[in-house]
């Protein structure tokens, strides 16, 4: 009986200790070393963790779709009141990154962050017209923002993959439907315009365009 109690105690102690250890790891990832020092020096200032102003801003011309990826906090860039539900996902090695996606209006366009592994992040978008009346091409603008220099844009048309580099990152956009066409709007620097003809949309609003965007950083 005593042995049972002791072994039970040890197991629980290990569990509680593990809980504390893992919490410490989690906590240390959320705060910098400077924060750590600040934390124990009774300085009530929250350190501004703003790193290099690297972020990628993706938004749609029709104000429907927006996403931002980057390092450094960018408060209030998106949903102010409910951001905590959709933000705070690490961006690989830039683990102070701020990542969030503003969901689309009217459920017509969804932006879902699927997964990132190490240095890459993959965003999937499903876009479909708001209503059956919208037969005309809708235009989406992907803005590469802030301090990142857009070094190169390679474009292809008719549903083929688009690769381009942004600072240390390679951005790949893969359309999953053949109707998609990519064009460049040259008078807007650092912007790619994705033009979608929405073929067949008149028969219903369910035609979806799936875009998968992958960002790989060196």
């Amino acid at each position: 009986m005593l042995i049972k109690k002791i072994s039970y105690s040890i197991i629980l102690l290990l569990f509680a200790g593990l809980s504390l250890a893992l919490s410490l790891v989690y906590w240390s990832r959320s705060v910098s070393y400077q924060d750590f020092l600040t934390y124990f020096s009774n300085n009530s200032q929250v350190i501004d963790l703003k790193g290099p102003a690297n972020y990628l801003s993706i938004s749609a011309v029709n104000d429907q779709l927006a996403a931002k990826v980057g390092s450094g906090y960018k408060p209030f860039e998106q949903n102010t009141r409910y951001d905590e539900q959709i933000a705070g996902i690490d961006f690989g090695q830039l683990n102070r990154s701020y990542t969030q996606i503003s969901q689309s209006q009217a459920l017509s366009r969804r932006a879902i962050m699927t997964r990132f592994d190490g240095q890459s992040i993959k965003l999937s978008y499903s876009l479909r017209p708001l209503s059956a009346e919208l037969n005309d091409a809708e235009t989406y603008k992907i803005i590469i923002g802030s301090a990142l220099e857009l070094e190169e844009i390679q474009l292809s048309e008719n549903g083929k993959r688009v690769d381009f580099a942004v600072g240390p990152c390679t951005v790949i956009i893969e359309p999953e439907q053949q109707e998609v066409r990519f064009t460049v709007q040259k008078d807007i620097p650092r912007a790619v315009v994705v033009s979608t003809p929405w073929q067949g949309a008149a028969s219903g609003s369910n035609t979806e365009l799936d875009l998968i965007m992958t960002i790989n950083c060196k």
């Binding site: 593990l18 929250v46 102010t80 539900q85 969901q103 009217a106």
Partner: protein
Amino acid sequence: MRLIINLISLIALAGGLLFQFLPASGTGLPAAVSYIYAGYLILVVLSLPSLMGKVLFRSGYFGVTPALLFLFYPLIYIVNWAISQFFNADYSQIARLTTIIITVYWHYLLLIATLVDKQFTAGYKAKFNTIKLLPLVLIPFAIYVLFIFMPLRQVDSVVALDYMQHKAVVNQMAVQENLCLQPVDCSNLFLQQGYTTFYHTIYAPILSSGGLKFEQVVYILDLIFPLLAAALLFKIALKFTRKTSWSLVASALGIVFFIGAAYTTQLFLPQTLAFFLYLHMISSNKLSGLKVILGSVLLILCHFIMGPFLAVQLVLFYLIKKYYQPGSLLATFSGAIVGIAGLIMAFVILINFSGFSIERNLQTAEVEALGTLTNLYYPDNISFYLMVIGFGWLILVPALVSALRQKQKPAELLWALLTIYVATLVFFLAPTYAAKFLIGFGFAASLVLVNYLSSLKLTPQLLTYIIAALLVSSSVFIAYANYKSYLSFYDQGNGRVNALVERDRELADFLSKAKGKTDLNCRIISDPYTQIVVASASSYQTAYAQYMPVELRQELFDLIQAPNEGKYRAVVGYKTDKYTPAESNCLLYSYRLTGTTKDNEFWLGSVYNLNLNPGETSKVSQQDPIVRFMRARGHGLLFADENYILFSATTTL
């Protein structure tokens, strides 16, 4: 004991009254005095119903009766409003006088309580004397303050726009001729009808002190509110652990968990007030059918979504308490009930993983109105859910299993299990703002954990305390990280983490004193963040403040970029189904407008996007095109500094 309490009470009353009569600024007193007074006033307002319950109704300090007595505040509002209308008196002066009366009344009730309450006299030596035990709650509170609040919160920081939004309602309640029973009755800052002004009638006396600044009150409110919640949780835990030490552990765990969107006790909002009142009801010793019905109505009045959600759980708690006994029908079939509940849970989680949610599939109209989906989806919802209590799951899982296998389950433990179950189920069913429904999760988890640890008779007992201490420490680290993540949304980019920007202060002060003193009789139109600053600082109406329609944002931005008559008329005459232009509009040119560039024009894109601080270098200039244009139109400058230029509505041309 009684003498000491009443002496302290008398000194506090004298100090409190002195502070009330001091002018709003230039008191010359050290800042610490303001904070002490703020804490005192908040305690008075939030504990007055407890004292009323004890003295007037012979109830406990916690329970359904004190919760119902919070209706005292809406009653006061209605009486004050009637007086102001009938005698044509200044409502704000009446409200301030009411705060003084409330303070005096609180001390009077405390005096009576010390005379009539047995806990102050004969019962003082009893083991579970609430009065004797309550000061112990300062221990979990100290953990929260030392490890979460102080390192994370900057002094005088306001970390929820909601505080400003609700203050705007309080401001409007003071000036409107109509009785404001719902925020939408007197303010255009609310997209949906989410609650009555019950919350605002409690928030108003807290804000109505003469000598305190808004940010001081809110900062201290975020400190005191968890303390009161800790006391409630302590009492609930005490009912079944019967041990002070374990109840303190439950209390500490309960208040440190930070759940984004739910903000269980960290912020004082309508939903958290509903939960606070609900805890009052759960802690009740004498729950009756009538009390449950009245309590449910109160919860619904407090919050139209969280209220019914909590009311259902209250009813279930009542039924459990009444009908669940060993050998009862409910107990006999408990195994089957748990099995079915488990299957339902598994089904809900699986359909969630496959893409189903109430929000996506059944609430398209709501989503359309909000302009955004509000929930996380698989797999991010899993990580969010798990990180609510973090690695405490390592103990919670065996604790849950143990609780389910426990033969004699106290009603409070069953309540905790039910809360965890319902919160999880709703979170994965995912109606809009599903994370809000996790509001009781941390509290319930803390009770289950403590039930488990306290039931173990390990060798030696000290070991269990060590395990509990490790658990509390790990929770502190997780809560710290979660709270910090939330705070990033109020990071101004200059080291300040605050919804209030220092640069706005001068304008806010000007507008708070401007009503009725100048020719500024108009609705103020500016960028959405500036508008919420205006609405919270004054009683001026705005163009939906932070929820300014997207189209109007763009119209305004276009006007600032290249002003002309057509664009100006488009802004002041902007109209939607909901939005009717005012007869008189004052344009407020802000540093946020001039600081908007291609890199930060995000606030134009969605109704939820706001620009807190575009950078220190952005300034307005009297040479800017919009100023020249407005001057040419004959608009005078009512206020001008390097951050803002406010134009008069009327032209002199």
